[in-house]
C-alpha cells in the first residue's frame, strides 16, 4: 500500500434500478437513528445500523458494491423493528427500503433454508387448513412424548429451535359463525383478522378479542376465506405470494361493508396498513388497497377510539407493558394500550425501561439470527426484572412467544398477556 495515498479504483457492478426508490434519497445521513437501533447498540458497527444499511442499499443501487453475501448479511441482520423510523427527523420509511432490498435478494440463509422458507411462504402460510394440519402434527409430536425422546438426539441448532417451540394448545381457534352480534346496543360493525398462527397458538386471545369487542357494542364479522396477512413474506423477501394474500384479504373484507378491520397482532396490522403501498403498481387493486388500509385498526387503537362502554371489574395485578415494534414504531401506537390498561381497576402499570426496544422476536428472526435475538431477549428480561411486575402485556403473538421463552429461560417467571386477555378478564360477565 502506498501510505498517504490510496486509490481503490471503484469496481463497477451492474446498477440495480429496482433498489433506487425515492425513500433512499430522503436520508441525509444525520445519524440520529444509530443509537436507537438494537443491532447497532450491541455490535457498535455502522454496517449494522439503519443509516449504514440505507447507505449500502444506495451503493448497491448505484452499482458501487456487489449484491453479494456480505451485503445480504447486513440487510438480514436488521430486525425490521423500525425504531429508526421513530428517531428519524426526515420521516424516512426505512422499512420500505429494507423490504425492497430483501425482495431483490430473496429469503435469507443457506440454500436449504431458502428453499424451506419459500415453501412455507408460498405453499403453507396462504393456506390456513394446511397450516392447521402442520400444527396438529407438531402437537402430536409434543403430546405423545416423542419430543422428549427426539430432542436430545437433534443437532445443536435444530435442538435450540425445538426448545423454543411453544407448547401447542389442545384447542385451536375455530370461527363459529360468520357474524357475531354485538352485546347491547350495536356501535360498530367490524371485521376481525384470524391470523395465521394466532388461531393455532393463541386461539384464546382471538376468543378474548371477540368477547371484548362484542361487549363494547361491536358486531363481529369473520370473513370465511380470509388468509394470512403476508407480513412474514414481505419481511423475508417474498413478494409474489404476499401480494396474492393481500388481494385475497382485500376482497373478502371489503365485500363485508365494515366500519373497521380489527387486527390483534401488531405485525399483521402494520403490514395491512401498508397494503396500499404493497399494491401501488397494481392498477386493479391500488385504490381498493388504499381504502382497505385506511380501515385497518389495531384492536387497542380501535377500542380506545370507540371508547370502552362495558363495565370493568378489578384485576389485581402489577404489569409492565412491552411496546410491540410494529405497534409503537410501525403504527405509532403507544398511548392507547396504556390508556386501556390504566382503565382496569386494581391493575398497576409500571413502565419498562426501553419498553419500545425490540425483544428480539421479529417474526422468524429468533430462528434465523438466534444469537442476536437471545442477546436482546436477555437484556429485555433484565429490564423486566427491574420493574418487579408479575406479568408483561405485549399485544403481538411474536413478542408473546419470545417473552414467554425469555421468562422460561432467563426469568423472572412472569406471565405474558395480550392486552385483550386482561380487558377480557376485567369485563368478564360484567355485561352479560
Amino acid at each position: 500500500m502506498e501510505p498517504h495515498h490510496n486509490n481503490p479504483q471503484e469496481t463497477v457492478h451492474a446498477k440495480v434500478p429496482s433498489l433506487d426508490i425515492p425513500e433512499l434519497h430522503q436520508c441525509v445521513h444525520c445519524g440520529l437513528c444509530l443509537n436507537q437501533c438494537p443491532t447497532y447498540r450491541v455490535l457498535r458497527l455502522e454496517p449494522a445500523s439503519p443509516r449504514g444499511r440505507i447507505h449500502l442499499v444506495n451503493a448497491a443501487a448505484e452499482g458501487r458494491i456487489e449484491l453479494g453475501d456480505r451485503f445480504k448479511e447486513h440487510i438480514y441482520l436488521c430486525l425490521l423493528c423500525r425504531a429508526c423510523e421513530t428517531a428519524c427527523p426526515s420521516g424516512v420509511s426505512y422499512g420500505r427500503i429494507a423490504e425492497t432490498a430483501r425482495e431483490q435478494l430473496g429469503p435469507p440463509g443457506s440454500p436449504f433454508a431458502r428453499a424451506l422458507l419459500n415453501l412455507v411462504f408460498t405453499r403453507l402460510l396462504p393456506y390456513p387448513r394446511r397450516l392447521r394440519s402442520v400444527f396438529a402434527l407438531l402437537r402430536l409430536y409434543q403430546r405423545t412424548g416423542m419430543q422428549r425422546l427426539v430432542q436430545p438426539l437433534l443437532p445443536g441448532k435444530l435442538r435450540d429451535m425445538d426448545t423454543m417451540l411453544p407448547s401447542i394448545p389442545a384447542k385451536f381457534f375455530r370461527q363459529k359463525a360468520m357474524v357475531l352480534p354485538a352485546i347491547g346496543e350495536r356501535r360498530a360493525r367490524v371485521g376481525l383478522l384470524n391470523g395465521c398462527v394466532m388461531p393455532l397458538l393463541f386461539g384464546d386471545v382471538n376468543e378474548a378479542t371477540i368477547r371484548v369487542l362484542r361487549r363494547n357494542g361491536c358486531e363481529i364479522v369473520l370473513p370465511k376465506n380470509q388468509t394470512c396477512c403476508g407480513a412474514l413474506n414481505i419481511h423475508n423477501g417474498e413478494g409474489v405470494a404476499a401480494k396474492k394474500m393481500a388481494r385475497r384479504n382485500i376482497d373478502v373484507f371489503l365485500e363485508s361493508k365494515l366500519d373497521a378491520i380489527v387486527v390483534n397482532a401488531a405485525g399483521c396490522g402494520a403490514a395491512m396498513k401498508e397494503y396500499g403501498y404493497l399494491l401501488r403498481d397494481d392498477p386493479a387493486y391500488r385504490e381498493k388497497a388504499e381504502s382497505f388500509s385506511a380501515r385497518v385498526k389495531d384492536a387497542g387503537e380501535f377500542l380506545a377510539a370507540l371508547g370502552v362502554s362495558a363495565g370493568l371489574r378489578p384485576v389485581e395485578m402489577t404489569v409492565t407493558y412491552q411496546d410491540p415494534c410494529h405497534l409503537a414504531h410501525g403504527q405509532r401506537i403507544r398511548a392507547q394500550p396504556r390508556q386501556l390498561l390504566r382503565m382496569i381497576p386494581g391493575l398497576k402499570l409500571t413502565e419498562l425501561e426501553g419498553a419500545d426496544r425490540c425483544c428480539g422476536s421479529a417474526g422468524i428472526y429468533n430462528l434465523t439470527h438466534s444469537e442476536m435475538s437471545q442477546h436482546l431477549l436477555k437484556e429485555k428480561m433484565q429490564s423486566v426484572a427491574a420493574t418487579g411486575a408479575e406479568a408483561i402485556v405485549a399485544p403481538n403473538p411474536g413478542c408473546m412467544l419470545q417473552l414467554a421463552y425469555g421468562a422460561r429461560r432467563y426469568g423472572p417467571p412472569v406471565k405474558i398477556y395480550h392486552l385483550m386477555d386482561l380487558l377480557d378478564r376485567a369485563s368478564d360477565a360484567a355485561g352479560e
Binding site: M1, P3, H4, H5, N6, N7, P8, Q9, E10, T11, H25, Q26, C27, V28, H29, C30, G31, L32, C33, L34, N35, Q36, R44, L45, E46, P47, S49, R51, G52, H55, L56, A59, R64, I65, E66, G68, R70, F71, H74, A87, C88, P89, S90, G91, V92
Partner: protein, 478 residues
C-alpha cells in the same frame, strides 16, 4: 487492497470481526453527516485503550494515516478519510466509567453518547451542559474533537468549558493524561489545546466532564413572526436588555416546513420565523425575565407569543428544533449546511444577505440558527443528481461565509473546519497565524498522520482550495 501485513497485525490487536476491509463493510464509513465521501481502506473498531495504543503504534510503523471517528454525525467532513489509511472507530468505547456526584464530574469513554450522560445523572439533579442538536447520537469524543456547542451554548459555553481532563494516546502510542479532575492544573493547558483539534493531535480515550446542576425553573416561549427582520431585531433587543436567556433560537419558514413534513411537532407553517426563548434559573428570575422577553417580542411585532405550558410542550418545541437538520431530507435529497458567525447586532443584516444569496444563486436556503450567539446555519437545499447544482451550492456557501467575515464574524461556530471549511480558514487567519497553529500540531503529530488533510489549507493551493464534491471520481483525491 491495503497491505496484507498491516491487516494481519491489526487483526491480531483487535480481533478479526473488528477489522473491516470488505467494500460492503467499509463503504458505510465513507461519509459522515456532511456531503463529503471518500471510500475508506480499513476500518478498525478497538475495544479499549490498550488496543488503541497498539493500533497507533502499528500505524506508525506502516506510516499510515489514522482518522478517528465517533458516531459520524459531523457536518464538516472531519471523519472522512481524505488520505486513506485507517478509520479508527471509537464506538465500542462507550462506557460511563465513573460518576462522582460530590465533585460533580463524570469520567467517560469517547464513544459515550452525549445525551446518555444526562440521562444517567438527571435523577440526581445534574446534567451535561453542551447540547449539540445531534446529542441523541453524537459521541463525547466527537464533541471534544470539534469543541461542540449547541442551543444552550449561549448560557453554558461550549465543550471546552465542560472538560476538565482527557486521556490521550500520542503518536508514539504512549498514553498520557492532560488536565485532570480538578480545574486549573498547573502548566500548559494542553487539555485546552486538544479540545477542538479535530483529531489532528492524537486519540482521546477518556474524558473527565463537568456536570452542571439543573435549574429550579425553566421557561420556554415561542415567538411567531411574519418578518425575519422582526425576529432578529427581537434577539438583539433581548440581549441588549440585559437578560441572558439559556437559548435564543430562530427557525425560518423553510425549516418549519421541513420539520412539519418530516416529523411534525405543530409549528405554525405560515410564519416567516419562529424564535425560541428559553430562560433558566430561580423561579422569581425566570418569571420576570419571561415577561420582559414576551414584551420585547410583542414590541417587535410578534404575531403571537406562546408559552410552553408544561415539560411535554417544551420537549416538543426542542424535538422540532433538534431534528431540524435531519428533517431537511423531507424537502430535498441533499443539504449543505454552513456554520458562519456574525456579531449578533449584525444578524438582521446578515439574514437579508442570505435571502439575497438565495435569490442570486436560485437555491432554497433553510435557516435554523443559534441567534443568541450570532451562529448561523443556512442549509442550502439541493439535489446532487442534477448536473451543475453542486457547484452552485458551493459558490453560494462560500458567498455566505465571505459575508460573515465581512460583517466581522467567523466561518465556523461549532461544526469544526474539517474538510469542508479548510479552504476558508485563510479568510480568518493570516499565514503567520496558521504557521503558529501548524507548529503546535507538529509537536503532537510530527508526521501529520492523525486526520491528515483537515483543518489547515492544503499547501498546494493555500487559501484557494476548491470544495470537493461529494462523489469524488476514482483516482482523484483531495
Amino acid at each position: 487492497m491495503p497491505a496484507a501485513e498491516l491487516i494481519r497485525e491489526l487483526r491480531g490487536i483487535v480481533g478479526s470481526p473488528y477489522v473491516l476491509i470488505e467494500k460492503a463493510d467499509v463503504v458505510v464509513y465513507e461519509q459522515d453527516g456532511s456531503i463529503f465521501q471518500v471510500m475508506p481502506e480499513i476500518v478498525v473498531v478497538p475495544g479499549d485503550v490498550e488496543e488503541i495504543a497498539a493500533v497507533v503504534k502499528c500505524a506508525r510503523r506502516f506510516n499510515t494515516p489514522i482518522v478517528p471517528r465517533g458516531s459520524g454525525t459531523g457536518l464538516a467532513g472531519g471523519a472522512v478519510p481524505a488520505e486513506g489509511g485507517i478509520i479508527l472507530s471509537l464506538a465500542r468505547l462507550n462506557r460511563i466509567l465513573r460518576v462522582d456526584l460530590q465533585n460533580r464530574i463524570a469520567v467517560v469513554e469517547p464513544g459515550v453518547i452525549n445525551a446518555d450522560i444526562t440521562k444517567l445523572v438527571a435523577k440526581d439533579g445534574l446534567f451535561y451542559a453542551p447540547d449539540p442538536s445531534s446529542q441523541a447520537a453524537c459521541s463525547i469524543g466527537g464533541n471534544v474533537a470539534n469543541n461542540s456547542g449547541g442551543p444552550h451554548t449561549l448560557a453554558y459555553g461550549v465543550t471546552t468549558n465542560h472538560v476538565l481532563g482527557i486521556e490521550v494516546v500520542l503518536d508514539d502510542g504512549r498514553v498520557v493524561w492532560l488536565g485532570g479532575e480538578v480545574p486549573d492544573t498547573p502548566g500548559y493547558d494542553l487539555c485546552g489545546v486538544f479540545v477542538g483539534s479535530e483529531g489532528t493531535m492524537g486519540i482521546v480515550t477518556k474524558v473527565v466532564v463537568k456536570l452542571t446542576p439543573s435549574r429550579e425553573s425553566v421557561r420556554t416561549l415561542l415567538g411567531v413572526f411574519d418578518q425575519m427582520d422582526d425576529a432578529t431585531e427581537t434577539v438583539v433587543a433581548i440581549t441588549g436588555a440585559g437578560i441572558i436567556p439559556a437559548a435564543l433560537e430562530i427557525m425560518d419558514r423553510t425549516t418549519i416546513e421541513a420539520i412539519e413534513r418530516g416529523a411534525p411537532v405543530g409549528l405554525p407553517q405560515n410564519a416567516e420565523a419562529v424564535l425560541i426563548v428559553e430562560i433558566e434559573g430561580l423561579k422569581e428570575h425566570t418569571e420576570r425575565a419571561l415577561e420582559i422577553a414576551r414584551s420585547i417580542c410583542q414590541r417587535n411585532h410578534a404575531r403571537e407569543v406562546k408559552l410552553a405550558a408544561n415539560e411535554a410542550e417544551r420537549q416538543l418545541i426542542w424535538k422540532g428544533r433538534k431534528g431540524a437538520f435531519g428533517a431537511m431530507g423531507a424537502l430535498a435529497p441533499n443539504y449543505y449546511v454552513q456554520d458562519g458567525v456574525v456579531p449578533r447586532s449584525r444578524l438582521p443584516e446578515m439574514m437579508r444577505r442570505i435571502a439575497l444569496i438565495s435569490k442570486q444563486y436560485n437555491l432554497r436556503i433553510a435557516n435554523v440558527f443559534h441567534a443568541g450567539d450570532g451562529n448561523l446555519h443556512p442549509n442550502i437545499l439541493f439535489d446532487m443528481r442534477s448536473p451543475g447544482e453542486l457547484e452552485r451550492v458551493i459558490e453560494a456557501g462560500a458567498a455566505t461565509l465571505r459575508a460573515c467575515v465581512e460583517l466581522g464574524g467567523s466561518i465556523t461556530g461549532e461544526h469544526g473546519v474539517g474538510l469542508e471549511k479548510k479552504a476558508y480558514i485563510g479568510l480568518l487567519f493570516n499565514e503567520a497565524d496558521l504557521a503558529a497553529m501548524a507548529r503546535v500540531r507538529r509537536v503532537f503529530d510530527p508526521d501529520g498522520r492523525f486526520n491528515p488533510a483537515k483543518l489547515f489549507p492544503t499547501p498546494a493551493s493555500c487559501g484557494e482550495v476548491r470544495l470537493e464534491p461529494a462523489k469524488i471520481p476514482a483516482g482523484l483525491w483531495i
